[in-house]
Symmetry: C2
Subunit: 430 residues, 2 copies
């Protein structure tokens, strides 16, 4: 029996059950990052300023003219049907086939993760994630008390050789993983993209060991360069649960995501969604439908990509200027994040307070590991701040890092400050 919140709030016997990767200390530190004098590279916020109020007003007006009463009413648990057709086209823009009846609409992809965790995970069940992995997914999973097995990433994405070892190990125990959770494109937090070869290998291993694959694809359409890799769903529809979201290509504040899955799984998720909140907002679903059916949404995505590409370049250039030879970092072909690995003796969580003193914020890498790891790494976001702000932020950050380095040297740390080559970007191991 899992330890649940005690019913004795009056006796102070609270049991922690819902875990959170970010320690409360770090959360407290990061809560100040909304202050205008602090440059935050910490969040994962899309640049919603790119979407004009006129377009939103136009779509809302169209919805209200068409059927105001329906937009204010409860809707079907699986989502507003016309929007499912739009989501099919959104997936089609990345070459992923999907029918509307394969889709359930959720409150952002996060709700999809939670419902999948609720439906699949019993306490003690094994599941597999990448290391590092998306903190929101880890939170949802951990709240249902699985054993999480973390498989390191490198520049080609999930280390499928290590995945194979782990799956073999579980098989020898007579056990097996319920699912393998991956973010194949422009990984959060690592910024890397899974190679085509690894995608095929992952699905082959999943098939051999009979486990499902969760493909979380929030950033796929935000590719700045290079050719897109095929989605896992497009390679094996029967084994993959696909998670999509409009948060990064339209508006996070509308809270619209979706799950595309084999129908027997979708039926279970639907019952869980009904318990969770009956249905998602009809109003925001109808507005999103008007937007994707009637506006130049692909043009808007192009505009976002141009903005984000410039910001990524600014970040990579500034990193090179200020931290070359001191740290290592990933070079994302899209998405929102760069992962920076610092010398092993630097503890990023402890450095955060100094960074905030220097008016710059990041997320310490430890937040992206379920149990431990990532101490000398950090996630930097390039989607929200503008290019000059990003340059200034990296400059401030580099000063903090260099001060930590001098201190460490003064205290006798004698070493090549660069992290070992063996673990590419420090993502392996931790």
């Amino acid at each position: 029996m899992s330890p649940k919140f005690s019913l004795d709030p009056f006796e102070g016997q609270y049991a922690h059950r819902t875990s959170n990767m970010l320690s409360s200390e770090i959360r407290d530190l990061l809560s100040v990052t909304a202050r205008p004098d602090i440059i935050s590279l910490a969040g994962g916020l899309p640049y919603t300023q790119a979407l004009s109020p006129e377009i939103i007003l136009r779509t809302v007006r169209a919805v209200l003219e068409e059927d105001c009463a329906a937009s204010l009413q409860y809707g079907p648990t699986d989502g507003y049907a016309p929007l499912k057709h739009d989501l099919m086209r959104v997936m089609g823009a990345e070459g992923t086939p999907c029918f509307p009846e394969d889709i359930m609409i959720t409150n952002g992809a996060q709700q999809g993760l939670e419902l999948i965790a609720k439906v699949f995970i019993n306490p003690g069940d094994s599941i597999i994630t990448e290391a590092p992995s998306y903190v929101g997914a880890l939170n949802s999973f951990l709240s249902y008390q699985p054993r999480i097995h973390s498989i390191p990433l490198d520049e080609q994405g999930l280390r499928t050789d290590l995945l194979e070892e782990k799956l073999g190990e579980l098989a020898r125990e007579g056990s097996r993983a319920k699912f393998i959770y991956v973010v194949p494109n422009f990984h959060n937090p690592a910024g890397v993209t899974m190679s085509r070869e690894r995608r095929f290998r992952l699905l082959e291993l999943a098939h051999r060991h009979d486990c499902l694959v969760l493909e979380d694809n929030p950033y796929g359409l935000l590719r700045f360069e290079g050719d897109p890799e095929p989605s896992l769903r497009s390679l094996d529809e029967g084994r993959v649960i696909y998670l999509g979201t409009l948060s990064k290509i339209f508006a996070a504040g509308m809270r619209i995501g979706w799950v595309a899955a084999p129908h027997p799984i979708l039926d279970k998720l639907l019952l869980a969604k009904q318990s969770a909140d009956l249905c998602s907002s009809t109003f925001t679903q109808m507005v999103a439908h008007r937007y994707f059916a009637g506006e130049d949404w692909l043009g808007q995505v192009e505009q976002l990509k141009e903005i984000y590409r410039g910001r990524r370049d600014a970040m990579l250039e500034a990193l090179e200027e200020h931290l070359e030879g001191i740290a290592r970092w990933t070079r994302p072909q899209g998405g929102l994040f760069v992962w920076v690995t610092l010398p092993a003796f630097i503890k990023a969580p402890e450095m955060l307070a100094a960074a905030i003193d220097a008016k710059v914020a990041f997320v310490p890498g430890t937040g992206f590991f379920p149990y431990r790891g990532g101490e000398n790494s950090m996630r930097l976001n390039f989607s929200y701040a503008d290019e000059d702000t990003i340059r200034e932020g990296i400059k401030r950050l580099s000063k903090v890092i260099k001060r930590e380095l001098s201190l460490a040297r003064a205290f006798g740390h004698d070493l090549d400050p660069l992290p070992e080559k063996g673990g590419p970007d420090g993502m392996t191991g931790g």
Copy 2:
């Protein structure tokens, strides 16, 4: 370990975990009630036609002018702060004190129920609900596998004498209930309101047996007559978790509800909310704030009450005209629902197909009991259809019931068709 959805979708080993009170058969039958030729008294839909598109457009325009980018962005997990001030005023309109910092905003009250279930219920834990009880609450609770103890209602609400017996019984077992879930005002589905005396008695018993009380109050402001009773929260803030919603006084399609609770409980719910979906829609929260801060929302509630009062009267008159001496029913002072009890030998779930043939729909009472009960009862909704439609719907329904009665008599059922006096409106027992 609870039986979870199997990971073998390919081997057909699905285990049911997320339960649903309405059998799939009944859900299939009710799914046709959207057909225009069927008069549906089955749903729980508010009359959203009462809210004008102009008002919604005005509030949206104001939001976009004020801060479009913020409305499209992620927001704080606990909700949009200015809206919390409005919710405080909404609670104040019913005499319930609350501070903004006591509130977490959710996707309708349903999400509050789910998060509470997740945080509090371990498999096998005892909880207490009314009988009948709100089907959405039962679904959320049951998905975490508690033992539900159902305490009957009568015209004065929860039978606190029977509650006392049950709590005593649990205490003698060395056990106790984690919480007691009640809908004190214009109960869904029963339509009854808990008397003042019973409210005090309930809190006294909860105190003596040290359990929390969940007060679900979606309809409190929709009182057509009589004096309001004090909310449970207003009587004992430290022991009550209060659930509110804007679905019945503003727009269900915006999916805005809230939980007001002691802070240590709120902290736990906040972590669960973060896993569940990061945050509710900033867009709909900002629209709701504009509406409640700038529009005559109390005037709108008055208008809704007038409409619903007329529809309730139409339903009660039609019941009297067509079913006097055959069935019994509750006389709600507000809200959306009437509960009808039929002679004991009539099985409402089996009668539903005949009713739909006769172009009228209701929800069989069985949907509102966790395990069994309610076979000869039904819930009728009076908020959605207009007065003439309600009259016609009851007329159709009465014909179906009378045909069932004749059939039953032909098969030798020899009895006073009226349900026993002992169980007021058939709610006790089942």
